[in-house]
C-alpha cells in the first residue's frame, strides 16, 4: 500500500528507537502530549511505547471528538429520531456512546428509532434526496479534518434547495482545545512545565496547515511537531521533539510534509469560514466550558440547523462522580489512576468520555495496553 507500508518498516523503527534512546538525556524526563486520539491509537496499536526509553513519556490528549462530545448533544441526536421521527445519520463512532439514562443511539435504534450509520455526509444528503417525505438529520461531529466535508454537504444542500435536510452541528476546534490544555495545565515539581512538547495532529493539520501552531510555540515556549499517521512518523516526531528540547528550541516543525503545508487547504478553510460561525462557548465533556472552541451554522445556512428546525435544547449532563476523565483528558492522570478504570468502567460499559471511543486514552489503554505497566 503506497504511502502506508513504507512508513511501517520494522527495521527502521528499531533504528529510530535507538536514535531516540541515544538522544534522550538520562538526567531528565521528557513529557510529550499527543493531542490527537488517532495518534493515541497509533501508539497503542503498534506498542510503540515499548520502543521508547523510560524517561520519554507520552501523555494522552483530548483530541478525540467522540470522547469530548457532550452527553447533552447525543441526547439531542436521539430526540431528533425518537421524538420527531427524523432519519438520524451518524458516523459509527457515536453509536455506542452512552448518553442520558445509559441509553445509546444503538439502543434507541433497537427500540425502533430510525438511526442510520453513514460513512460520509454525502450519504445523508443522498438519503434526504431519496426520501423527500422524511426529515433527514446529519449528526456532524469531529475536529477540522471532518468539518470541511460537512461544509460541502451543506453547500450542496443549499445550492440544490434540499428542504428536508439539516445538520446537528457539534464540530470542535483544535487550536482552542490546545490553548485550554496549556492554560489549565498544572506545573510539575520544581515548577517545571507540565508538557515539554506537543505532537500535532496529522489530518487536522492537513486542513488548517502548520501556521496555526506557531502561536503555541511562541506563547508557551512549546516545541510542536506535526506528525503523520504511521508508526515511523510517530517515532521520527518523538525524536524531533527530543532534539528540540535538548537544543532549547521551541518551533513548529512538520514531520508530515507529504500532506501538510504551512497554509493548509485554502479551499477547505474558506468554505468552513463561509458555512460556519464560532460559538461563544461550548461545554466539552471532561474539559468543561471552552470559549470559541466549537462551530455552529452561519446565518446564511441557518435554515439547515437541526437545533432550530426541531427546537432542540442542549441540557448539560454532568459526568459520573467517579469519573476522572477530565484529569485524564488534560493529561494529568493516567487511566490506571482512575478507581473506576477496568472495574466499573470498561469499553463494554463505559462510564466516562475516555472509555467511550476506541481512541480515548482509557479505551486505548484498556484494549491494547492494560497488561503493560
Amino acid at each position: 500500500m503506497k504511502y502506508v507500508t513504507e512508513y511501517r518498516n520494522s527495521e527502521q523503527a528499531r533504528g529510530i528507537a535507538r536514535e531516540i534512546a541515544a538522544a534522550a538525556d538520562p538526567a531528565r524526563e521528557y513529557r510529550f502530549m499527543e493531542f490527537c486520539g488517532g495518534h493515541t491509537h497509533v501508539l497503542a496499536r503498534w506498542g510503540l511505547t515499548d520502543l521508547l526509553p523510560k524517561n520519554v513519556r507520552m501523555i494522552h490528549g483530548p483530541g478525540c471528538p467522540v470522547c469530548v462530545l457532550p452527553i447533552g448533544r447525543i441526547d439531542m441526536a436521539m430526540e431528533v429520531a425518537q421524538k420527531h421521527g427524523a432519519i438520524l445519520c451518524t458516523y459509527a463512532d457515536t453509536l455506542r456512546v452512552p448518553a442520558s439514562g445509559g441509553k445509546s443511539l444503538f439502543k434507541a435504534k433497537a427500540e425502533g428509532a430510525d438511526i442510520r450509520m453513514v460513512y460520509s455526509p454525502m450519504d445523508a444528503v443522498k438519503l434526504a434526496r431519496e426520501n423527500p417525505d422524511r426529515e433527514v438529520v446529519f449528526f456532524a461531529i469531529g475536529f477540522e479534518t471532518t468539518t470541511p466535508p460537512t461544509a460541502v454537504a451543506l453547500d450542496v444542500a443549499k445550492k440544490t434547495g434540499l428542504k428536508n435536510f439539516s445538520v446537528l452541528c457539534s464540530h470542535v476546534l483544535t487550536p482552542a482545545a490546545m490553548e485550554h490544555i496549556l492554560l489549565t495545565a498544572p506545573r510539575r515539581e520544581g515548577d517545571a512545565p507540565f508538557l515539554d512538547g506537543l505532537v500535532g495532529p496529522a489530518h487536522v493539520s492537513v486542513v488548517i496547515g502548520s501556521e496555526p501552531y506557531a502561536q503555541f510555540a511562541r506563547k508557551w515556549k512549546m516545541p510542536v511537531v506535526i506528525c503523520g499517521f504511521e508508526p515511523l512518523d510517530m517515532l521520527y516526531t518523538i525524536l524531533m521533539l527530543v532534539r528540540q528540547v535538548n537544543e532549547g528550541r521551541h518551533e513548529v516543525e512538520n514531520e508530515f510534509t507529504r500532506a501538510v503545508t504551512p497554509e493548509g487547504n485554502r479551499i477547505a478553510i474558506d468554505l468552513m469560514a463561509r458555512v460556519f460561525r464560532l460559538r461563544d462557548t461550548f461545554a466539552w465533556r471532561g474539559l468543561g466550558s471552552v470559549p470559541h472552541s466549537a462551530l455552529a451554522l452561519a446565518p446564511e445556512y441557518a435554515g439547515f440547523d437541526a437545533e432550530a428546525r426541531f427546537g432542540l435544547i442542549e441540557h448539560v449532563v454532568p459526568d459520573n462522580k467517579a469519573c476522572q476523565c477530565g484529569a485524564i483528558l488534560r493529561g494529568e492522570k493516567e487511566p490506571f489512576e482512575c478507581k473506576a478504570f477496568g472495574k466499573a468502567c470498561t469499553p463494554a460499559r463505559p462510564i466516562g468520555a475516555c472509555m467511550v471511543s476506541s481512541e480515548g486514552a482509557c479505551a486505548a489503554y484498556y484494549s491494547y495496553g492494560r497488561l503493560r505497566k
Binding site: 500500500m1 518498516n9 535507538r18 541515544a22 523510560k54 466535508p149 525524536l239 507529504r258 487547504n265 477547505a268
Partner: protein
Amino acid sequence: MCLAVPGKIVTVSSAEEALADLGGIQKTINVSLIDHPQPGDWVVVHVGFALQKIDEEQAQKTLRELAALGESAACEEPAA
C-alpha cells in the same frame, strides 16, 4: 487526526466527483476540496472526501530521512 487513507485518482468525472483507487479498492470520492484534481494525483481521503494532494517529492524526502535514521549505528538499546 482522524482516519484517512491515501488514494490515487483514476478518473475525474466532475468538479465534485472522481473515481479513486485506494490500495486496490475503487471508490467514488468527493474532490470539491481539491484544486484541479487530475488522474494520477495521490490524495488523502477522509469520510469519502479528498482533503489534500500528497506531495510525492516530500514523501520521498521523508522516506530518505527515515531510512537514514533507521540505519542508525547508535548502540544504545532502548531501555526495556
